[in-house]
Symmetry: C2
Subunit: 221 residues, 2 copies
């Protein structure tokens, strides 16, 4: 194998191990064994576990950021639901590593890992704005989108802790949460109200946004 | 000064400095100068900056956890609004330190600091459950409360980044967000619907929950 090929293989092996267990618990010896090479050879390609962890996290971050990319076709609610499915696929595949990373801790809190987390959040933020047809978000829209992204993270983390709610329910719920947070903001601000009206006017009667309204009316609170 | 008195004084001085600037930027020399003692004397009481930081964070955590304590009197929405005001008072007073801590980073991501953050979240969680009259929360209620707590954190962090929205607006908005997230969950689950009905039935016509409904109806989306 060439140098770059070997590096990529090691990153893949490490990412797989870091995804299945907390990165703190994964040793270089284990990575070497899984890759079928010696421990010194691992160090030949990566100076230490942190640099291998950061390379694996970089690959995972690019993967996750890519999952937010969604064609600009069809109702907004349906697009967001497709993104949520891909997001939970990722969380499902990388559970323990995702939890350890997002909960912070000594091994994972380097400035490089924080920058990677921020890059994924930024990619998600920019994707959502592009679907809303907004280039320069006013502060209240920025707040709704960024705080909803953090809500999606915490929802995923809570789900991973025991998986006591079916993930399909949470995927729909997060789409509904987005509409609900936007509606609360619209209740406080005229520009957000205009945006919300534009957001829902093209939504079909059987789409996720209309479904929420129907469910709330049926609830009769 | 006695040993314990001196320690408490140093913690107070350090907390003040760690609150005003990112803890990374605060030196032991500065803390010594602010306390009016020599650098070696600081080390006599605390082995290093991390232990002093952790002691200051412990005091701040206890302060913040205490702000969630609210008498069980009057409408739920009004109680939560009072808590949100005290929460933003805290965030306002400790802005740079709060941001640095919650955004993670090499100096602040120790397991002791993470445990302190979790203890505050747990105190907030238990307070909210007690106001809802629930001792053993089912998974969906736990999700709503815990994810709303993380929403309050991210809202405060986004607010600190430029303070472009009046904090009084965000305090009310977070109360409304709680009702909105509970309503979305109620739209998906019968037990949550029962809880939501109980939650709003005693709310007065001029309380925050009714205000949200009124605003949304006026919006006519």
């Amino acid at each position: 194998m060439g140098v770059e090929e070997r590096r990529q293989q090691l990153i893949g092996v490490a990412l797989d191990l870091f995804s299945r267990r907390s990165p703190d618990e994964v040793s270089i010896d284990e990575i070497a064994t899984a890759a079928g090479i010696s421990r010194p050879l691992v160090y030949h390609y990566f100076p230490g576990k942190l640099s291998l962890y950061e390379a694996a996290l970089k690959r995972a971050s690019e993967d996750l950021a890519g999952r937010f990319a969604e064609p600009h076709d069809g109702p907004l609610g349906v697009r967001l639901l497709r993104v949520m499915r891909r997001y939970f696929d990722f969380v499902d595949d990388h559970g323990p590593g995702f939890s350890a990373l997002m909960r912070g801790g000594p091994a994972v809190g380097s400035s490089a890992t924080n920058a990677l987390i921020d890059s994924v959040r930024q990619a998600a933020y920019e994707q959502i704005l592009s679907h809303l047809g907004v280039t320069d978000a006013p502060p209240r829209l920025e707040l709704v989108v960024r705080s909803w992204i953090s809500l999606a993270e915490s929802t995923a983390l809570i789900w991973l802790d025991g998986r006591r709610i079916p993930r399909a329910e949470l995927e729909v719920q997060l789409v509904h949460d987005f509409a609900a947070l936007a509606a609360v903001s619209a209740a406080h601000d005229e520009d957000m109200a205009t945006l919300l009206k534009k957001m829902v006017e093209d939504e079909p009667a059987d789409g996720p946004f209309a479904e929420l309204v129907g469910r709330l009316i049926a609830l009769g609170v």
